[in-house]
């Protein structure tokens, strides 16, 4: 593979990595593309009623 081709390929990889990280993990692109109601946040953990 020629040098310039390799540079372009890696530029694309780094670009997609950063861009994908921002839009998939930092903000949810789903919410931008498919607008929805504000979600109800719940606790994943059910705390048992306990005494100390």
């Amino acid at each position: 593979m020629s040098i310039s081709k390799q540079i372009i390929k890696n530029t694309l990889i780094y670009f997609l990595l950063i861009f994908g990280y921002m839009y998939l993990y930092l903000v949810d692109i789903d919410q931008i593309l498919f607008p929805q109601e504000n979600m109800e946040v719940k606790s994943k953990i059910d705390f048992v009623y306990q005494q100390f």
Binding site: Y14, L16, L17, G20, L24, I29, L33
Partner: protein, 393 residues
Amino acid sequence: MKLHDTLPFVSSEFYYFIAIAVCLFLVAKIGFKKWISYRWLLALVIFSFIVLLCPKPIQFGFLIVYLYLALLLLRKFYKHQNIILPMLVLATPMIFMKTLGVFPEDTKSTFIISAKNIIQIIGLSYIIFKVIGLYIDERRSATKIAFVDFFNFTAFVPSLLIGPLDRFQRFNSDVKNGYENITAELFLQGWSNFIKGLLFKFIIAEALHRLILSHLTDDGTITYHLLYMYTYLFYLFFDFAGYSLLAIGFGNFIGINVPINFDKPFLAVNPKEFWKRWHKTLGDWLNDYFFKPIFKYFTTKQIFTSIQRQSIALFLTFSLMGFWNGFKLHYILSGMLFGLYSVTHNYYIYKCKVAGKDVVFGKLNPILVKIISIILMFNSVAFAIYLFSGKIL
């Protein structure tokens, strides 16, 4: 840190583990070569992963010890050429696990739940295949297989979960080279593999899943099925190939040339080429340790005609692949379908050879033939993988 709940390359904790492990190897290469040999450092790193992060470390330890003891006993006392018994002995834990997998997830039986709990160990199928390969390759050599080498090979963290399936001789030659293998060149190559793996698994596969697959609703239309089929194929490829690339990259960082597993599979023109491009290490394993002996046996015994023998051996091999994925109908049927593809293609090649010409395409432009073959292969694979996904069964 999530103790005993960290799967390779899945949780973010694992990436800290990679960083620490790679630093250890670099530091050892620079300053502590004399103090700790490469194989022991590798064993130490793998051991600490299993003890600290891996789910069910005790079961895992038992599995490795069982396999090593079984291997030692087989090597010492089993002198027969027939490999069926050793294969079965080594595969017992896997067969047991796959059988338990048949029971539904929400089973009430405490026995099944606890049995599942004990035997469902990460990477079990891959470990078993590696050990069977090791046994067959080494069964005539008298060299002792040290436990530490066996441990490093079977529990090698990067390829623990879903491959690539390495070979003992190849792997151990890297380990013997040791610190010499850790070079800037291999490191950079590893980095290239690693970022490509991250891109495949965490960006492309994730985007396909989140943006397309999770939004598709089964309305029974053909559009839905087609869309799901193609998207799932690409999703599976990017997820799996990405994982393999991460494993290769991590291996490269610490001086191990983990074999390539995926190589542009959608450009394959026929099933034979496909299995050299898609999950290559599994394809090679099945060819070397299952197809070869079984087909050689058929040929030696002159059972059926030549083309029948070929077809049966091929079909059995891919059916085994289906069973290996799990004792579930959709896995098995998908394996059989892949077998059918290979049988058909092999029959076509046979016909062409006998007739001395291409019996389907005739004198068509070879480039056009190639394009048609790629399209045909791609769609056949898409359908078989769709079957594999369990969406239609």
